[in-house]
Symmetry: C2
Subunit: 478 residues, 2 copies
């Protein structure tokens, strides 16, 4: 059947196209299996597993907005590293936030760009693991601690003194081995979470470190920004069908994780961070403590009440396009520019337009596109503000095209059929090039298929003439 | 420049075709680097290296027509295995043959399918390493041994007695560690050769073992035969520009070697032999003791003498198409059929035609093609006999097409331009499929690019409409 119609050029061209498309779809899906190896089976560590965790080092791997991360080993899975996340705020407060965010997150399915919790508990943490705290200040919350949560002790084994004044210590026999060094230190009660991915940096740190790089090599840095934003959008898009809004998108709540396709053995080797590779790392959206979730079962009474309210009030309480807005601010911040609304607080008071937003300097191939994307995301009118899925498409177009030369060719032809033909030709060439790239990786032992290849294959495999038409329209729209 | 002419479908189709072709050529060349890693730098072990070799086992890895092979380790390259080849015939006779074959082989450049020697020496070999010999029979040759060759001693170290009656033992201080087990045994003087590839089987053994497989799964077995024959032809084709003819092509002179692209570390792990994989192994042409080499500088006197001789007499002394003929016999033998000329010796006496050759039973997709190839190779008239390069092309066509369906489509269209278009379309589809296969291997950790992929890429990358036209003609010719 493959060679039926082999005398007809048109049929052969169509056949080759469908072979490429089908194969790229398969490759994109296999990449997902590879990059998310093991993560799709949700892990749940109960209290009884905690004694099998041990800190690999006393040095934090990363300090994020809401928590500090330590690399940990798990006795029953010695080939993989885990992270122990110790929440910063006092146990009570943190616990409240944490259970809120847990409720939100447990409603979500697994996503490559959303932090996944594998278990959590309340633990007595030695003060030396909480570097931001004054070890001599009293832990004023301890006294009011309640007893209705399981509370584990850290560092008990090695003679680390169990805190005597803690009224909440339960009689649980499990011990958590985290922080069991031979030092005797004060302990604090904190919420501790086990996650599978060990972050090495927040995006805030990444941006801060990249100041000179941005000046020296703006094309590279702004491409990295596009790839991080694309991952952010993928994560946020995943929240939409669950009616979840993060509502606290800040650089310090976005974490970077090294990735190795396949995981397993390789996961354990130290990974070299190459700041010059185009795709810096895997991005994880973390800290869901401010997240809003619209309950799907609407109270009929609420519905009746809402039926008489002006739409902007309902919109105002739904936070529906809040993440889009905050993503717009992040674009400024990632490009080493201040948040426009922090710099100019009266902007929100007046009915600002895109012209009122501070311009983004044209430093690279991507600057103009990022400026346009930021304006679309910061549109004051939520109904005119673009969706996160549109932002994702615009970023893909910035990263992989169609670029100016093709858009020019597109505007030079007349008639929608000819325009579609140009888009189809562009897509055929891009798919051929990506296929060749994958083929060459099969012989390249050093560098296998990378995250950027996967992201690109998601775009090109599932693009259609319709989706490309829409993207071109988006890029020209504003 | 990639997107110039993007509005023109014809230009885009041509561009995609040239992208595929260029990339496949690159892939075929990179495969060669990978499969021949390390082999291109010729190794030459002198007498001083022999003490660094040690048998990995007393069990032979393979017993071939002219020699027995043992796996050996080399102290200075512990990650690779080497083979120690102990020639079967008595030292004197073997030495004469060996130096002849060495002279022939040293004129050749390295080829994937030609056995390569890395060093040789005359050594005293313990009888237990020569399983075909009666250990109690006297080594009648010893006495007449001459002294003009360096002779090493095997198994001297561990108290293995140095043979006292050997008059040829030289005073060389180097010792060869081969066979240094704690047994005291008689020794025999033999030519020993170091080769890089460790054969595990001769093709004779492979064919013998496959008798039931041939019946149970004829498509698989006969495809394996095609792939082995293709490798044989590649090796023989390599001899042509050097005017070398092997002249002793027998199943027991063809060796099978496991291969691992990249070599290095992986080389050391035991390789599972999977008799059901399509490409059984790498084939090496060995035993050049009967090889003929036409000297390129022809004596002018010889030339004058020859100028008056009938052409068949010169052809008769040149052995020019002798390997082609023997390859034809091997096809019968690999298909578990007797050599037609052994079964029916009077065949050669009469002027036989292809009709006189015994038919090959039609057991698989490949039987008819192999029958035809055998007839072409066994043509009694050397000027009508096809060249080894044509045989190679016919095998490629059998393995990867164009097959019957395409040939039918080809005969259905009229006009050479349309016929060329069908061939071009076929090539475009095949290249797309191969590119996809390579792309998929990039995500497949278990099975990387295999020998068959490489062989196929050599064909498809360098095929042209002209070469395909010629192959189709060959397949139809007889």
């Amino acid at each position: 059947a493959l060679y039926r119609g082999i005398e007809n050029r048109e049929e052969v061209v169509a056949k080759i196209r469908s072979l490429h498309t089908d194969s790229l779809k398969k490759l994109a899906i296999r990449c997902e299996d590879l990059f998310m190896a093991g993560q799709k089976d949700q892990l749940r560590f109960g209290v009884d597993s905690w004694s099998d965790f041990r800190l690999a080092s006393d040095k934090p791997s990363c300090e994020a907005g809401d928590a500090i991360y330590y690399t940990a080993t798990y006795a029953k899975d010695p080939l993989n590293n885990y992270a122990v996340k110790i929440c910063k705020s006092k146990a009570k407060e943190s616990q409240r936030q944490y259970y809120h965010s847990l409720a939100v997150r447990q409603s979500l399915s697994v996503n490559f760009n959303i932090q996944q919790d594998c278990g959590h508990f309340l633990a007595d943490v030695p003060v030396r693991l909480l570097p931001w705290e004054d070890p001599n200040s009293p832990d004023e919350e301890e006294e009011e601690d309640e007893d209705d949560v399981s509370k584990e002790e850290m560092g008990k084994e090695n003679g680390g003194k169990k805190k005597q004044d803690s009224t909440s210590s339960t009689a649980k026999s499990q011990k958590c081995n985290i922080g069991n060094q031979g030092t005797i230190s004060r302990q604090r009660s904190r919420v501790v979470v086990i996650t599978r991915e060990v972050p090495y940096q927040t995006v805030a740190e990444f941006v801060e470190e990249a100041k000179t790089r941005h000046t020296k090599n703006p094309d590279l840095y702004e491409r990295q920004v596009c790839l991080l934003l694309l991952q952010l959008c993928s994560g946020l898009e995943h929240l939409k069908p669950y009616h979840v809004t993060h509502c606290d998108l800040r650089l310090e709540n976005l974490l970077l994780v090294h990735f190795r396709p396949g995981g397993g053995l390789l996961n354990f080797e130290p990974v070299e961070v190459n700041p010059n590779s185009t795709c810096p790392a895997r991005l994880l959206v973390s800290n869901f403590s401010q997240a809003k979730q619209k309950s799907r079962i609407m109270d009929s009474e609420v519905l009746r009440d809402q039926s008489r309210l002006a739409p902007e009030i309902i919109t105002g309480t739904q936070y529906k396009k809040c993440d889009e807005f905050q993503t717009g601010i992040l674009i400024y911040e990632m490009l080493h520019l201040p948040n426009p609304f922090e710099e100019n607080p009266e902007l929100k008071e007046k009915e600002y337009t895109r012209a009122d937003l501070p311009p983004i300097p044209h430093r690279s191939l991507y600057s103009r596109g990022l400026q346009q994307l930021a304006s679309c995301l910061l549109n004051p009118n939520p109904s005119e503000r673009i969706l996160i899925s549109d932002a994702k498409d615009m970023l893909r177009c910035l990263l992989w095209g169609p670029r100016e030369d093709v858009l020019l060719a597109l505007s030079a032809v007349s008639g929608s059929a000819q325009r579609d033909a140009v888009l189809q030709n562009w897509l055929d060439i891009k798919r051929t090039l990506l296929m060749i790239k994958f083929a060459e990786k099969s012989l390249d032992k050093e560098s296998g298929v990378g995250l950027e290849d996967w992201l690109c294959s998601q775009y090109l495999a599932f693009a259609t003439i319709e989706s490309l038409r829409r993207i071109v329209r988006l890029m020209h729209q504003h």
